[in-house]
Structures are given as C-alpha cells and as structure tokens.
C-alpha cells in the first residue's frame, strides 16, 4: 500500500472564513504569491503550507458558498486561528459572519484566536491604494484613525481628495468600530473575558488583497500569536504517543496501536 501521507504534517492550522467574494482566496494569494490575480470561486476548500521559522502552518481557504457551508466546522476543527473576513463595502458580509460563520468555529481549539478582517479597503480608503511600503508612512492623524474607531456620523468616508490615486471611492459600509463591536460579541459568544483576551485594536484589520495593504501584517501578527499554540501542541505530542503517519523511521520509538502475536 503506498504511503499517501507525503505532505509535511502541519504544526498548526489557520482558517479563513467568510462569505463568498469577500476576498479570502485573494488574500491568501496575495500573501503566499505576492500578487493579486483573478480568482475562481473556491471549490470546497484549499490550503497552503507556510513555512514559518521551523514550523509548518497550514492555511485553509474555505468556500463561502452556502453549498459548502457544512464543511466549515470540519475545516475549523483543531484550528489555532480563524480569520473572519468581510468586505468593507458590504455590510451584509459582516452580518453573515455573525449569523452563519461564527458557529462554525465551535470546533476550533479552545484557545483559538480570532481576527476580524475587512478586505477591499482599497475601494474606500486612499491609504490602502498605495503599495504597503508607501502606506506605512502615516500622516499625523492616520495613526490615531487606525487605533481609535471613527465615529461614523462625525466623519464619514472622506471625500476623494484631488491627490487620491483613483479618484472615486466607494462608500465604506462597515466602519472600524462596527468590526470592533462584532469582535466584542465574538468574545462573548466564546465565553471569553474581554480583558483577558487580545484587544480589538490588535485583532481587527482592514486589508486590501489588491494592493497588499496590511496583508503581511495580518498574517504575520497571527503567526506570532499562534506560536504558543504550536509549542503546546508539540509538547502534547511528546506526552501522548500516537501513530505518526509521517514517521517512516519505523515504529521502534512509538508504541504500535495494535499488538501482534
């Protein structure tokens, strides 16, 4: 019987969830392949392996389509981080996260971390239209904007300034504080104490897969945060021996599952 498990066994799993067309696949492409290309609707799910230092992280891209909804729980099983993705130009996509996707994360690890990601920021925010290096140099005020959610009535989407690269901006339907509020509700849903958990400012991102804005920051923040989870998992594996399909050095070191006469 050929050994099917040729893949490196991932140390940890990160799952992207969210409605279809919010840009999950694009985000993953941008991060893994450093480009933005046309995506075809994701069928069922796909995953990438990312080498992060000595660790292998599997990042699962899921299908947002209703049809594949049932698979979500399975993808989330054992996840160390879940990226809940919405589209900043689409209020409904944020609502869907709470209505449809949040419950799928029940199967994730008990210490799973959650990131809330508003993608397509390039459509509403001139800053996100620049390549990430250029956007990294904020004007005085932008720093503030990033950390403190804007009051929507006081300051709606800024009018397109003459210097804006693409002129026409779409209306931003989801403000930063809406995401922060949802993040709070997620913590409550998980029965987590808000004080003991990662703060919304840290875990709510606005990204653009198109320009790359904030994409590396998103994934790398998460990877750094899941490292303890990796270490814990490694530790557990050493404690309780299981049959490692990867291990072809023989069974000498591990207890065989079934005894042989």
């Amino acid at each position: 019987m050929p050994d099917l498990s040729k893949m490196k066994k991932p140390d940890v799993k990160v799952v992207l969830l969210g409605d279809m067309n919010v840009g999950k696949t694009s985000l993953l492409h941008r991060y893994m392949e450093r480009k933005f290309k046309d995506t075809i609707s994701t069928v069922g799910g796909a995953f990438f392996l990312k080498q992060w230092g000595p660790y292998n992280i599997s990042i699962w891209d899921t299908a947002g389509r209703e049809q594949f909804h049932g698979l979500g729980s399975m993808y989330c099983r054992g996840a160390a981080a879940v990226i809940l993705t919405y589209d900043v130009t689409n209020w409904q996509s944020l609502a869907e996260l709470e209505e449809r996707f949040l419950s799928l994360t029940d199967t994730a690890n008990h210490d799973c971390i959650y990131a809330l990601v508003g993608n397509k920021a390039d459509l509403t925010d001139p800053r996100a239209q620049l390549p990430p290096e250029a956007a990294g140099l904020p004007e005085d005020q932008t720093e503030e904007e990033r950390t403190e959610p804007r009051v929507p009535s006081a300051c709606p989407t800024p009018p397109a300034s003459p210097t804006s690269p693409s002129g026409a901006l779409l209306h931003k339907q989801v403000a930063g504080e809406d995401a922060a509020a949802l993040y709070g509700r997620i913590l409550r849903y998980k029965g987590l104490d808000e004080k003991g958990s990662l703060p919304a400012e840290k875990m709510c991102f606005e990204t653009s897969a198109k320009t790359g804005y904030n994409v590396d920051a998103l994934f790398e923040t998460l990877f750094d945060l899941v490292l303890p989870s990796i270490l814990r998992k490694r530790h557990e594996n050493q404690e309780s021996p299981t049959v490692d399909l990867e291990d072809f050095r023989g069974v000498g070191t591990k207890r065989a599952r079934s005894t042989c006469c």
Binding site: M1, P2, D3, L4, S5, K6, M7, K9, P10, V43, G44, G45, A46, F47, R65, Q67, F68, G70, L71, S73, M74, Y75, R77, G78, T107, V243, L245, F248, R257, S258, T259, C260, C261
Partner: protein
C-alpha cells in the same frame, strides 16, 4: 488540460460472463491476487483467473480464464463479495444475509456446531482495514442492519461469525468503513466517526443521503474519502480533521478510490482522475454504464453492468514525461516530488534530478531564464549540456557527449530560436551570466576547461568587458581552441594575455607589436605601446627584452627606455647588467642619456665612469645644438641648464677631461667657470665670469656656490678674490676709463653693499681706491661700523657679566664658610660612607662633611689638583 495517468484495460468481457443473456448484470466484484470473483443479479458467483500479459511493445493486457461459476440459490442479486484469503472464504451479502462461501469450490459454508455462520437483515458490511485483533485467522467486519439504528462488529472465522459489539447510531446508517476502532459512517443527514471501543463520536459534516448516494471510502490509515455536498470529495481523518484539500467531482459520483497520487472517481458516464497533490482534474475517461469502482491491493478495477476492466496506471516516469512534453513543468515537478515516498531514495534522486533538468530546459526554451537557472542548479545539470546547445562553444578537445535520452528537444540554439536573432542573443547573455556564476563552483569540477573556453568564446563574440578579467585571472581556457576564436573576433590584446597565461610571452609580445604597429586592428587597449613596454619591463626573460627593446626604442625612446629604467628592483630575476645596457643603447642616443640619468640621478650610482659619461652626453647635446643654425634658443637653454646643474652638483666626473672638451668653446664660459671652480681654480673662474662674461650675478653666485660647504673664512677669501678682480679691472688703478671699468666699479660697490657681512672691512678699506666717495660705500661702511661697535659692546657686556658672576660666587663661598657643620658618630662620610671618629673633617661645597683622608684621596685621583676644601672646626 489532461495527463494520461491511467489506461482502461478490459479484464473480463461480456461474452465470457453472460454471453448473450441480456438481463444478467454484474452486481459486485472482488479480486484477490489473480482470482477475480464476480457476483451477478441472477445470484451467481463467477470465478476467473486473471493473467497480466505484456506485449512486446510493452502494452499491458489481461487474459481471463473462467474457473467456475456457482448459483447461490437465493434468486436475489449478489450484493457484496469480500475475500478473506487467510480463511479461504468469500464473505457474501445476498438477500440481506451475510454468509461464507469457499473460495475454491464456491460452496456455501455450513453452520458449525458452536455458532451461526449467517447474519441476517444486513444492508451493508465492510472489512476492518486495520484489524484490532491479532488473530490472522479471523476477519473483522462492520455490519449495517436494515431495521435498527445500529452498527454491529463481528469476528468472522472459517466456519462461524461472532458478534463483538453493537453500537447505536443517532440515525440510520447507510454506508460504513472501518479502521481499527474507528467506524466512519454515512447517516441519513451526515457523516460521523464513531469509536466502537470508547463510544466517542465525532460529527463530520452534513450530507443528505437521500439526495445523493454517500461514499465512505477507506483510503489510508485512519483516513477516509467522503462524498460531500456539491460533488466534493472530502478527506477526513479519524479525528474529524481534513488534512488534504478536497477534489471536485460531479454531483452524480457513484464510487471513488485512491491510487496515489490520484483520486479516481466514477460517475454515470466518466471516470475522473484528480491529483491529490494539486486538486486538479488530470484525466477523464468516458465509461458508460459504470457502476463499480474498487481498488484491490492497489489495483483499481471497474465494472459496467456487463464487463470488468482494470484501470492500469501508466508508469510514473511516463506520466511525468507526458507532462513535460506538454510543457507543464510545475505539475511534472509536483508529481515527481509527490512520488518521493514511493520510490527508493537513490532512484528518486536520479529521477528528480533528471526532471529538474528537463524542466530547466523547457523553461530555457521559453526564455524563462530565472526559473531555468534555478532548476538547472537544483538538478545539478552538467553545464556542458547547456553549452552544447550553442554551436562551436565546446572545445574540440572536449570529451562531452549529450546524455541519452536527451534532456530536451533542441538540436541547437538556432533550432530553438527559429532564426530569431534577438532570442539567440538573450540565450547567449543568459549563458554568459550562468557560466560566470558556476565557473567558480564545484559544479564544474572536471569540465573547467570546457566551461572557461566556452565563456571565453562568448565574451569574445559578445564584445564582453569581462573577457580580459577572465584571462588575467586563473582560468582553464584551452589555447588551441581559443586562438582562432579570438583571432576571428580581432581580440588580439586578449589573445596576447592568453599566450602570456600559457607562458608564451614571446608570442604575446609579437602579436601586440603587430597591433601597436597597426598591422592588426584591435582597439581593446588604448596605450598598447606603453603596455608592451611595461610588459617587457617586468618580464623576467632577458631574451625577450633584448629582442624587442630595439622596436620599443625606435618607436619612442623616451617611453621605450622604461624597459630598462622601470624594471622592478631586485626581485627574483637577475637584473640586467647596466654596462650591457649602456653598450646596447649606444646607438639610441636619447635613450642612453635617459638611462644614464636613471642610473646617476635616480639610483645614485657613484661611479666616475657613469658620471663622466652623462656629463659628456649633456655636453655633446649642448654642442650639437650650438652647431645647428639657427639655434633653438629654448632647447639650448634647457640643455645648458641641465649640463650646468650636473657639473655643479656631481663631484665624480673627470673635470679635466670635460674641460678639455670645451676648451675651445667660447660659448660655454659659464660651464668652464664651474669646472674651474671644481678644480679650485677660483681666480680663473672669476676671471672668466667677470671679464669674459661680465656676468656679475653669476660671479657672486659662483662665490656662494664654491664656498657652500666650506667655512666662512673660505667664503671670505672668495669674496675678497672677487672684489680684487673687480677692482683690478677698474680705472682707479690707472687704466683708462671706459664703460667696462665703470661697470666693474659699480659691481664692486654693489658687492660690498650687498654682501658686506662677508668681508673683512679693514682689508677692504685698504684695497679701495683713494678717490671713492664715502657716500658710495655708505651702506657697507654703516654696516661695518655698526658691526664693529656691536662686537665691542657685546664683549663689554660679557666682561661685566663674568665679573658679577665671579662676585656672586665669592659671596656664596663666604656664606658657606660661616655655617656650622654637624658631625656625629651616626652620620657617614659622603665619600666612603664610614662614620666619623674624630672632629677634624673636611667640608665639601654645600656643607657636606667628609673624612680628610677621603678628600686627600680624591684630590690625588682627580686630574686637576684643585683644592676644594677648607677644614672646619667641630662645633
């Protein structure tokens, strides 16, 4: 895009099975080694022997031979057949009953005394792929029952079955697989994993079994393949986790199996083959009326209602080659790397390397050089494979032959580029950069010559600046091959370097000379002449130097002479003998002069012969310039200055000899004066300067020069001599007054007024003619009087000072005398360090008491027998 990964080969054809009986259909199959069992809807089991036949062309086919068929007597279709070969039993499901049949005779096994051999009310069963009991003569099966929501686990023995466990399920199960304790079940609306040992369960995902037939396929240790909503093939392990990305089937998929790295699925009309490595659909085979797809010990078999087929995988290499042939490099590499675990390590490495190389060439052909390079590097390509694509680059001496079978389809670069010169150029540039990178790595061990020669050729052809670097540093370029190539591209300078690298300096110089002379054209190096001179200059071969020095000197003596003058000092090669060089340079006047200057002025060789020779050459040059008419004043001046400076500064040349040479030359008076000066014939010299040349500044300069390293008395003497010469020629001494006399007088006055400090004023005053006005000599006299006054006063002051010093000392002495001197037995004498025993002591200046005898001793020893002491009384 498709790959040909499998071939569908008939195994049992319709004729053999049912002949022309149209209503008979295949219901199930089982294959165990060569034995194939087929269950039909008319309750028969057919037993065939299946033989693999490979044709001479390597094509595989099956010949099947019918051994037996048996009616089971239930009038119902045979639903499942499973072989338990260790028991020699077939486990049969027919009419909802599981029972055993002998594998050979196909006879139903009767019930044993101890227990039943039949299980009733069964809808489906499966064999444990990973049995938990160690008993080899027992098979574990999981059974689904039609009425109750339960799963039962049985042990099947040769002649009985034994219920081990019964588990309740939340819904009616309709499909099952078993691995160890893990049951993977399809329930009415979902899949689940159930551990029959612990009772723990794990929901997988929802699925409507009414809508679509569920698939629960064991594929690997604790891993199952499941039909998921939307026609997905989902992987799930016993923990309920998916570790592989799903594949996309059609909605109507009936059955699936894994034949690594492919997932094979069957639907109503097609067999689809997906790669587990990249999820992609790789092959589609049309297959009508298919309803069975199963794998038996790695062999994938299919059945339509009427016939049985084997899905034969093509050899991996063949598949990879097919992918490469359609330029699907990435897929080919994924497939290769995916096979790593299934191929012995060394074999895999060879395969992998080859595929990488082929991939590299495909990308090379598409001008994707970066990717190509990476693959060449990883695949450890013999660079000569690449070089050999470029016509004529490999040296004729190279033993290289391309590997077989070939790594690519290109005959050569021209074939590849199809006449597109831009492409050719890009490929060449790539090769240049690639060879440049690898030539210093161990990748080129054993073929350095080929690589360097190829690089040289490319550099030459492309007019590349690194050609010279290549040749100037360590390289392995093959001479025989490179010479014609460099000549072809007129890279003569480079060729010379190559000759030099191969220790053929003579050939190098000859070639360069032809370029320098304009016989050959190569503009690589400006200042080639200087380069050749430098080259000869540092050449250790004297032969070479003597052979080409003439050429260089003729071309430009000033630079040519560098061959001799710029030779690195000392070093390993025995230096040229200066006498030889001088002799040799005899006919090259100017060069000889430069050489002598080099010896005398730079190397400061203190040899009379050389100095005299140089002086004579300077003189000759002056003379020859003088003899020309019209004379070039500027040149002459320069030549004379040189001569004069040398005559003044050197002390080694033969003065008389030179004087003799210019005795008759009235134009070189200044030089003669200098020579006289050298002979200390100052009067003659001054006579010439004053009377013949009337060059008073020179006369004064002469005095200063001639006395420069002497004492002031000598200088005074010279100045007085000069004054005398001036005065002797002046009319004051009875000569008729004329212009000249007046001038001399003025010269004398100027001399005195300007250099008054040198003269002895008293003697001067005696020499001066009576009639001279005081006014005229005022500066001189002023200075003289002042100087003498100054001297007088200075000496008076000195006298006074000495006097007062004397008084001061006297005072000190008196003071010392009055001081008490303490002497005790504890105090020692400063001279002998013994203690005092009597009051009579002597006191040294400063009141230091010492023994009288010690002082006496000291006085005796000291050369100046002065009395230093006074006796003093003890107080």
């Amino acid at each position: 895009m498709s790959v040909k990964a499998f071939e569908l080969v008939p195994a049992v054809e319709r004729d053999l099975l049912m002949g022309d009986k149209a209503r008979i259909n295949i219901e199930c199959i089982e294959c165990c080694g060569k034995h194939l069992y087929v269950g039909t809807n008319d309750c028969f089991i057919h037993h065939f022997l299946l033989d693999e036949v490979t044709s001479s062309k390597g094509k595989l086919s099956y010949s099947s031979q019918k051994l037996l068929h048996k009616y089971l007597g239930l009038k119902k279709p045979v639903a499942e057949l499973r072989a338990a070969s260790a028991l020699e039993r077939l486990i049969v499901l027919c009419d909802g009953i599981v029972f055993l049949v002998d594998m050979v005779t196909l006879e139903t096994v009767p019930s044993a005394a101890g227990g039943g051999v039949k299980i009733r009310g069964v809808t489906a069963f499966c064999i444990n792929e990973n049995p938990v009991s160690g008993d080899p003569f027992c098979v574990e099966i999981a059974v689904l029952c039609s009425k109750r929501r339960t799963v039962q686990i049985y042990m099947v023995y040769e002649d009985r079955v034994q219920l081990v466990k019964e588990m309740n399920t939340p819904q009616q199960p309709c499909a099952v697989s078993l691995d160890g304790y893990f049951l993977c079940l399809a329930l009415a609306t979902q899949y689940m994993i159930l551990n029959y040992n612990t009772g723990a369960s794990q929901d997988l995902f929802p699925y409507n079994s009414e809508e679509r037939r569920p698939i629960v396929k064991w594929i690997n240790r604790e891993e199952f393949l499941l039909a998921a909503p939307g026609g997905l093939g989902m992987f799930a392990n016993a923990e309920g986790i998916s570790q592989r990305a799903p594949v996309k089937w059609s909605e109507s998929v009936i059955a699936a199996a894994v034949c690594f790295p492919y997932v094979v699925a069957l639907d109503e009309n097609f067999i689809t083959i997906h790669s587990m490595l990249d999820q992609q659909l790789k092959q589609t085979l049309s297959f009508r009326d298919g309803h069975i797809l199963q794998d038996f010990e790695g062999k994938v078999m299919l059945a339509s209602t009427k016939a049985v087929y084997v899905l034969v995988p093509l050899p991996l290499e063949r598949q990879i080659q097919d992918l490469l042939a359609s330029r699907r490099v990435e897929e080919a590499l994924i497939l290769t790397e995916g096979a790593q675990r299934n191929i012995p390590k060394d074999k895999f490495q060879i395969l992998h390397r080859r595929i990488l190389q082929q991939a590299g060439f495909i990308q090379f052909g598409q001008l994707q050089f970066l990717e190509a390079k990476e693959h060449f590097r990883k695949g450890e390509l013999d660079v000569r494979e690449l070089i050999s694509l470029y016509p004529l680059l490999l040296p004729a001496s190279s033993s290289f032959t391309r590997c077989h079978p070939p790594l690519h389809e290109f005959a050569d670069l021209n074939h590849l580029a199809q006449g597109d010169q831009e492409k050719v150029l890009q490929c060449k540039r790539f090769l240049i950069s690639y060879l440049g990178e690898v030539r210093s790595t161990e990748m080129v061990n054993g073929c350095r010559e080929d690589v360097d020669t190829a690089l040289l050729k490319l550099y030459a052809e492309q007019d590349h600046e690194s050609l010279l670097d290549l040749l100037a540093t360590e390289n392995a370029c093959v001479l025989a091959d490179s010479v014609p190539w460099l000549e072809k591209y007129h890279k003569y300078f480079a060729l010379g370097l190559l000759y030099h690298y191969h220790c053929q300096d003579s050939a190098a110089v000859k070639l360069w000379i032809r370029v320098a002379d304009g016989d050959l054209q190569d503009s690589t190096r400006s200042g080639l002449f200087e380069y050749i001179v430098d080259f000869l200059c540092s050449s250790s071969s004297q032969d070479l130097v003597w052979k080409h020095a003439d050429w260089a000197l003729q071309k430009d003596p000033t630079i040519g002479v560098h061959i001799f003058t710029k030779r690195p000092a000392g070093k390993d090669h025995t230096d040229l003998n200066p006498d030889d060089v001088i002799t040799y340079l005899g006919k090259h006047n100017h060069a000889l002069l430069l050489y002598l200057e080099h010896l005398v002025l730079e190397r400061r060789i203190q040899k009379e012969k050389l100095h005299t020779h140089l002086a004579v050459l300077y003189l000759e040059r002056v003379l020859s310039l003088l003899s020309k008419s019209p004379t070039d004043a500027e040149q002459l001046n320069r030549a004379r200055e040189r001569l004069q400076a040398f005559l003044r500064e050197s002390n080694l040349y033969r003065v008389q000899f030179l004087l003799g040479k210019m005795e008759n030359c009235e134009q070189l008076l200044l030089e003669r004066a200098t020579l006289h000066g050298k002979l200390e014939e100052h009067d003659k010299a001054l006579h010439i300067l004053v009377h013949k040349l009337r060059d008073f500044p020179s006369a004064e300069a002469f005095c200063i020069w001639a006395s420069s390293s002497r004492d002031s008395a000598y200088r005074q003497r010279l100045f007085h001599l000069l004054l005398g010469v001036y005065l002797d020629g002046s009319p004051g001494k009875g000569q008729t007054a004329n212009d000249g006399g007046g001038k001399l007088e003025m010269a004398a006055v100027d001399l005195l007024n300007q250099h008054g400090e040198v003269f002895d004023p008293v003697r001067v005053l005696r020499m001066l003619p009576e009639g001279w006005s005081l006014q005229l000599l005022r500066p001189f006299l002023n200075r003289a009087v002042r100087a003498s006054m100054h001297a007088c006063r200075t000496s008076q002051i000195a006298l006074g000072l000495a006097h007062s010093e004397n008084l001061q000392l006297l005072h000190d002495r008196l003071k010392e005398r009055k001081k008490p001197i303490l002497v005790s037995e504890k105090k020692g004498c400063h001279l002998c360090h013994n203690t005092f025993s009597e009051p009579a002591v002597v006191c040294l200046p400063g009141g230091v008491p010492v023994h009288t005898h010690c002082v006496a001793q000291r006085v005796r020893d000291s050369p100046t027998k002065r009395h230093l002491t006074n006796s003093s009384n003890h107080t």
